[in-house]
Amino acid sequence: MKPGDSATIVSIHTDEALHQRLLAMGFRTGKKIELIRKAWFSGPLQVRIGTTEILLRKAEAEKIRVQK
């Protein structure tokens, strides 16, 4: 995904603890997710789900499968 792109979450492949936290923040299968921007120096990503904006690192983002 590039900044500005939207996609739908297909599946989330993380351990239980992180999955719980992602659920609490609104990451659910079937939800729309928008990549707003990436930080410099391959830093974290800023994404939007519904009206909530969330920061997460690349390593975590890679565990979330999406489909455009």
Partner: protein, 594 residues
């Protein structure tokens, strides 16, 4: 297999409790009637296996938020054999409503009043026996955090599960009323309200486009920080001068005449010891008020999370994350709450590394030492720059420490953080925050300051025959004994003494200098400018910046890490680094001919 549903409001410690009960056996799974996945675990109760499902936290059984609908749909299609209801004991009067709503379902129920430890601290007492009788269901106090109260609760759950559940039809009937409302709601909304798929550009989005810009973001961040310190200096210094004059005038016209009938030694102790010390520190109150006011603004606007976003890439390379950086920034107010703030990190090694780094944050107590000395020895034009350079050194020491120690504290914790929208804090909010912080600072500092300056006066005035603060006093001897260690740094015996007192708290460094020289305010600045050149002063400030912040910080480090070894590591490392840096700076500056 029998099923237990775990229900409760958000933030009741429900998930902690769930983890405690199920241990590591939990898994994520799908359930009939709902599209989201829920966490569940199997445990052995009595002689049979039962399944516990952790439902989302809700405020109202009949509400229409997403979570509330999930809970209702789950209960409708998967009527549990027992509802385990978790309430926060400290908010029992508010949370009881949910329990009473649930009671209408006639399910088997067991109630757990969590956070019993906090409730006890707040003086809330709950008679569980009476409440059990009133509601006709078993109720237990427990603490998921400390793991107390479980055995009885689990026994009662086992017993309650033996009762056959006859509620199924009743539950479904009751829930269908709400489901009819849901359908009605969605029908009306569908026909009449349109919500755009893409939210319009609001102010937050537009601001973020600039503030979080890939190239501009960081310079803007440092610019904001620099302006902040400039502003503190600009507004704070005249105020500080005013308070100083006021207190000096008060001494001459009121305090000194009032004490004139007392014996000479006691008069000296009260005036040159206690009064001078307190007056010098009191002059910093306006500065600290301003500092906290500005920090409160930065924090309440939501900019701190943006700073975490900007800095995470860099922090990740140091084995830390964006949150460590936010704590580091909080440390600029006071290290103690910043150290306590690392509790949000779940990984112990990330936490320890953050705690090792935070004491290098230039806290407000150190700031007052630097403001005083820079004002005394540097021109008004150079002073803010000198101060800014000390902030850079503060970051550099933190970065160096993190890089050196990151291999010892490998971090695997994920970094996921919610980004709040920008908010402009109300004036009341800012003033309240500023006032609260100042009050806490004064509260913490006043004990240290009074005891500290009294001790300094005694050390500098004993034995009675010696001239105050001369080499013959206890203080003078201590200073000259340590002199060989500090002379390569350009630090004089008087300053060495101030450093020793600074070990207790930086708040008393200037106070103790006032006592050592027997002068306060402007007069003290003048004397310092006579006795020291700028290289010596800067070396002294570097050492003050980097060695142990204060006794409270050390105590907090010990408590939060729960390890004496870690406390000693932090203490010795910061002393060694302080000495090495001051040494390098002083010798280099002298070698360059300054």
């Amino acid at each position: 297999m029998k099923k237990i549903a775990l229900l409760g409001m958000p933030n009741t410690g429900k998930s902690t409790l769930f983890n405690r009960i199920t241990g590591s056996s939990s898994r994520v799974g799908n359930w009939p009637g709902i599209t989201v996945e829920l966490l569940s675990g199997k445990i052995l109760l009595g002689s049979e296996m039962v399944e516990i499902v952790d439902l989302p936290g809700i405020y109202d059984m009949h509400g229409f938020s997403e979570d509330e609908q999930v809970v209702r749909h789950f209960l409708h299609d998967n009527v549990p054999d027992l509802a385990l209801v978790v309430l926060n004991a400290t908010q029992i009067e508010r949370q009881l409503s949910l329990l009473l709503q649930l009671r209408q379902f006639n399910l088997n129920m067991v109630v757990l009043l969590n956070m019993a430890d906090e409730a006890r601290k707040l003086g809330i007492s709950i008679d569980t026996a009476k409440m059990s009788a009133a509601l006709d269901m078993p109720i237990f106090l427990l603490s998921a955090k400390y793991g107390t109260g479980y055995t009885e609760a689990l026994q009662s759950i086992t017993q309650a599960l033996r009762k056959p559940s006859t509620a199924t039809e009743n539950v479904r009937q009751l829930l269908e009323q709400d489901e009819n409302i849901e359908r009605e709601m969605s029908r009306v909304l569908h026909d009449t309200v349109q919500i755009p798929a893409r939210l319009p550009d609001n102010l937050t989005t537009r601001l973020d486009r600039i503030m979080l810009h890939p190239w501009l973001g960081l310079p803007i961040f440092f610019g904001i920080m620099y302006l902040l310190f400039q502003a503190i200096f600009l507004f704070g210094q005249p105020l500080q001068g005013g308070v100083n004059e006021l207190l000096g005038w008060l001494r001459e016209t009121a305090v000194a005449p009032m004490l004139s009938s007392l014996p000479h030694a006691i008069q000296g102790f009260l005036l040159d010891g206690i009064y001078n010390g307190i007056a010098t520190v009191a002059a910093f109150v306006p500065l600290i008020v301003l500092f906290f006011l500005f920090m409160a603004i930065v924090e309440d606007t939501g900019y701190l999370s943006r700073a975490a976003f900007l800095m995470d890439a860099l922090m990740a390379r140091m084995g830390l994350d964006g949150r460590s950086f936010v704590m580091l920034l909080m440390g600029f107010g006071c290290n103690v709450p910043a150290l306590m703030g690392t509790r949000v990190m779940r990984s112990r090694s990330l936490r320890l590394l953050s705690m090792l780094v935070i004491p290098f944050s230039l806290c407000s107590a150190r700031l007052q030492v630097f403001v005083f000395i820079t004002a005394a020895l540097f021109t008004p034009k150079a002073a803010p720059l000198v101060l800014f350079s000390l902030y850079l050194f503060s970051f550099a020491a933190a970065i160096l420490t993190a890089l050196l120690f990151k291999r010892n504290y490998p971090n695997t914790e994920p970094f996921v953080l919610e980004l709040p929208p920008y908010r402009f804090p109300t004036l009341r909010q800012m003033v309240m925050r500023g006032w609260l912080e100042v009050f806490q600072f004064l509260h913490r500092a006043s004990k240290f300051i009074i005891a500290g300056v009294a001790l300094v006066w005694l050390l500098t005035n004993l034995s009675p025959s010696a001239t105050p603060a001369s080499p013959d006093t206890i203080a003078g001897m201590l200073g000259s004994w340590l002199h060989p260690i500090f002379s390569p740094l350009g630090i004089t015996p008087e300053l060495t003494l101030a450093l020793i007192f600074g070990f207790v708290a930086k708040e008393i460094v200037i106070g103790s200098l006032a006592v050592i020289y027997g002068l306060s305010g402007q007069a003290l600045s003048g004397t310092l400018a006579l006795h020291l050149d700028w290289v010596q002063a800067y070396s002294f400030m570097l050492f003050t910046l980097i060695y142990t912040p204060c006794l409270s910080t050390i105590a907090t480090l010990r408590n939060e890490s729960n390890s004496n070894k870690f406390m000693w590591l932090s203490l010795i490392w910061s002393l060694a680094l302080a000495w090495l840096l001051s040494f390098a700076f002083y010798q280099a500056a002298r070698a360059l001919g300054y």
